[in-house]
Symmetry: C3
Subunit: 139 residues, 3 copies
């Protein structure tokens, strides 16, 4: 099958909550039966992103702190004035970091570095049930 | 046909002009006849980007303001000293935000959130005719 | 659907070293024999990124300066306190800029702009031998 698309639910805490989704991605790749191709990992919604990091508490803290400094939570946002949902900062962060990442896989394995994990970063200001899309195109 | 590539022209205003390209992307997907796969949305050129946002004026304003604060227009840029085209800030913004985004589609629809639109952000310092590439790989 | 995956080694200097990998990508595309599809350009590891820029010394300098300002090298990082490798800033930069980029190709050519090059940015704090993945999916 040349395209395999799977959606998986994940509970997140918001406020820059970072979750390692590598095991889930690996399970989905195994399930797809594919061995070579591109994996598109994508989070539908306007307040979350996918990227990679060395998943250890120090680097995660540093990333969260940098995001907080670059796009502060406690600043005035037009989005909040209009919609009163208080997550203007979440929208800006997600637009800057984008909702997806493509990762090549080869011989049944993602071509990630040894200390590199796929992560979901949830920028929203509340707990959410997120649906992550894992799509594999290849052979 | 497993690959469908289409280029569409779009007039932009520059200076962080944000345009909703979701309807165009949906029309291209329909035209491709494909129902499952990866859409690569890409803007050739060094001064524009593709991302997603909830396309409402508040969030758009917030994004533009954040970009202006993070990479200011009125700062000295080496690019400007050498080429005198005054868009050094545009190049830095575009390199940071990247020219493309991959979006999975399934059963004929992009797997975007309900309030999530595909946008082109033009960082250049003048009006441009941009060519957007919509490429679908799948089935 | 055919998939072609190739890994190529590249020596980098770290500290925001920027290298033009367009010629290498073009050589790989030629080698793949493919003419239409998506190229996934990806750098395994947690301290480097792929993006595009007009590859001229002014714009490169401006990008490096902006990154240094946005995520400073000389700031306290939790990662450094725990692992003593002094590259906390590299991890944050790479997580924000992400390790890959997808570029469409058509009729045997990448759909890049005339003044747009594919670059590897190495954020690490030392010289590295990087392996870049070039993966083509299409026909």
């Amino acid at each position: 099958m040349p395209v395999f698309t799977q959606r998986e639910k994940l509970k997140t805490l918001g406020y820059c909550d970072v979750q390692d989704i590598t095991p889930l991605a690996e399970a989905m790749l195994l399930k797809s039966g594919m061995v070579d191709g591109i994996a598109s990992v994508f989070v539908p919604g306007s307040t979350a992103s996918i990227t990679t990091i060395e998943f250890e508490s120090g680097a995660i803290h540093d990333l969260q702190k940098a995001i907080q400094r670059l796009v502060p939570e406690n600043a005035p946002y037009e989005h909040d004035k209009r919609w009163q949902d208080g997550n203007g900062f979440s929208h800006v962060r997600a637009a800057l970091m984008k909702p997806g990442l493509s990762v090549p896989f080869h011989q049944g394995r993602f071509l990630l570095g040894t200390w590199q994990q796929l992560i979901l970063v949830d920028f929203d200001n509340k707990s959410r049930i997120r649906e992550i899309v894992f799509q594999f195109v290849g052979e």
